[in-house]
């Protein structure tokens, strides 16, 4: 298999690279901790061109997208965005996405952002259901045509304001507008995956380097992106849910807020039943009280050593300095401050459940 390279690949010199979702992406430019702290305190820029871009246009673009996602897409006015789930017939998450209703004047009606490596499958899903349902919509995978740069942190707005005429004051969270950034026609969205204020910028692949270079701030890799999202309790596709390895519904994954049961979509009925009956297991935050690093796949037990569940993601929080994790546990063990154990290399480490986010947003 050949790794897909982001359009900015030539720009990185000292970055450590890794395979992520079939893309060769930077993990660290400086150190993960340094990059993390800079984003919390100032601003950092991330190449997130591995995220997919799929556009949906035409008379049935809304109907098609409505029936394939858990949210009510109809509420989106031009220039609005929402976080949503894509579920299978059982109500299990295939992907979590951001859906943009593109501003008036844009060439397409909707744009959605699947996770790394999911763009092909999601495009195919939209196309096959369009055929099945006899709908009229143009679905295009534009992942290779777009570069995506995330500019995140308390100083992000000042940095961006210097490069665009767009009125950033009037661009609220989960809104998107089109304007030039560093001279390049760019979609500017006030969205992100860090818990900080910030923007995600979508520009043509050919302009990637111009847009990236326009911001004089710390370049950040996937390492910091992961620790930043984990402190917020945000889900990572493939870890907190996966179609075969970790089949989970939005309610189990604690993103029930994305489910609008008043709309009709694939997976709605099993989710309606779960909304009525409750879930057996749910994603919850953990804080380790002993020293150690909780990691993906580690077992979680009760204080008597009886198995309860497993860790889906974990790290040592650079902000708090303490080990944190996300884990699926039986619902009766998910109240905050429930004592549990995480088993690390055969040793039972003291932990307690915590509400997320782990830090004040």
């Amino acid at each position: 298999m050949t790794l897909r390279r982001p359009p900015l690949a030539g720009v990185y010199e000292d970055a450590t690279l890794t395979d992520f979702g079939g893309w060769e992406m930077p993990v660290e430019f400086d150190s993960t901790r340094t990059e993390h702290i800079v984003v919390r305190e100032a601003a950092g820029k991330f190449d997130v061109s591995h995220m997919g871009q799929v556009t949906v246009s035409g008379p049935d673009a809304l109907d098609l997208t409505q029936r394939l996602t858990t949210t009510d897409v109809a509420v989106l006015a031009p220039g609005d965005a929402q976080y949503s789930g894509v579920t299978d017939e059982d109500g299990c998450l295939l992907d979590d996405i951001i859906i943009y209703r593109l501003p008036d004047g844009a060439a397409d009606d909707y744009l959605f952002i699947p996770n790394a490596g999911q763009d092909g499958e999601m495009t195919e899903r939209w196309v096959s259901h369009r055929e099945k349902w006899g709908l009229t919509a143009t679905v295009t995978n534009r992942t290779e045509a777009y570069a995506m740069v995330a500019l995140q942190g308390p100083d992000a707005e000042t940095l961006l304001a210097a490069e665009t005429d767009l009125e950033l004051d009037s661009l609220s969270r989960f809104e998107v507008a089109s304007d030039t950034v560093a001279g390049s026609e760019t979609l500017v969205a006030r969205t992100g995956y860090t818990g900080e204020t910030g923007f995600e910028l979508l520009c043509p692949t050919g302009d990637a380097e111009t847009v990236w270079s326009a911001f004089d701030c710390q370049p950040c890799g996937l390492g910091a992106r992961d620790t930043l999202r984990l402190e917020m309790g945000f889900l990572l596709s493939g870890q907190e849910f996966h179609p075969t390895d970790e089949p989970r519904t939005p309610y189990e994954a604690d993103i029930g807020r994305t489910v609008d049961l008043e709309t009709d979509f694939v997976g709605r009925d099993p989710l309606a039943a779960q909304a009525r009956d409750g879930v057996d297991e749910r994603l919850v935050g953990l804080e380790l009280l002993d020293r150690g690093v909780p990691r993906h796949g580690y077992d979680v037990t009760d204080t008597g050593g009886n198995p309860l569940g497993h860790v889906t993601s974990g790290t040592v929080s650079p902000t708090l300095g303490t080990p944190i994790a996300l884990a699926y546990l039986p619902t009766e063990h998910t109240d905050p401050d429930t004592p549990v154990r995480v088993v690390i290399r055969g040793e039972s480490k003291e932990a307690r459940t915590r509400a997320t986010p782990f830090i004040d947003g």
Binding site: V27, E28, T32, R33, T227, G292, V293, V316
Partner: protein, 127 residues
């Protein structure tokens, strides 16, 4: 990128170092190793009085992105543990040959030192 490789230390292929002072050997991981690992967030070490066997794992160092076993360059009995690393594991990144040391051991068999890499050979190893 160039890494510190002090001449008066000896090295394992797996990036541990040893520096001897009479019959005591101090053990840690190299500058190259800490750079590969990135931010060190946890170190698990044996206790005073435990015995090490050359070539066998004696502890674990974890960074944000990876878990690595640490191997004993020499056999011997642990006489001191750098407990500062439990609260400040980042010392391994900041000063791998100094404040980031891990253990002192009494050498069981000085001839084991001959099996280790010298500084030049280790420089070739990480080149």
């Amino acid at each position: 990128m160039s890494f510190d490789v002090p001449d008066d230390h000896r090295y394992l292929e797996s990036h541990e170092w040893v520096r001897t002072d009479d019959d005591t050997a101090r053990v840690g991981i190299t500058d190259f190793a800490q750079d590969e690992l990135g931010d060190v967030v946890f170190v698990e070490l044996p206790a005073e009085g435990d015995d090490l066997t050359a070539g066998e794992g004696f502890g674990v160092v974890e960074s944000i992105k990876a878990v690595s076993d640490i191997y004993a360059p020499v056999s011997g009995t642990v006489t001191a543990v750098n407990e500062a690393l439990f609260d400040r594991p980042e010392l391994v990144n900041e000063d791998p040959f100094g404040e980031g040391w891990m253990l002192d051991v009494t050498l069981a068999d000085e001839s084991e030192l001959d099996d280790l890499l010298g500084a030049d050979a280790y420089r070739d190893r990480i080149a």
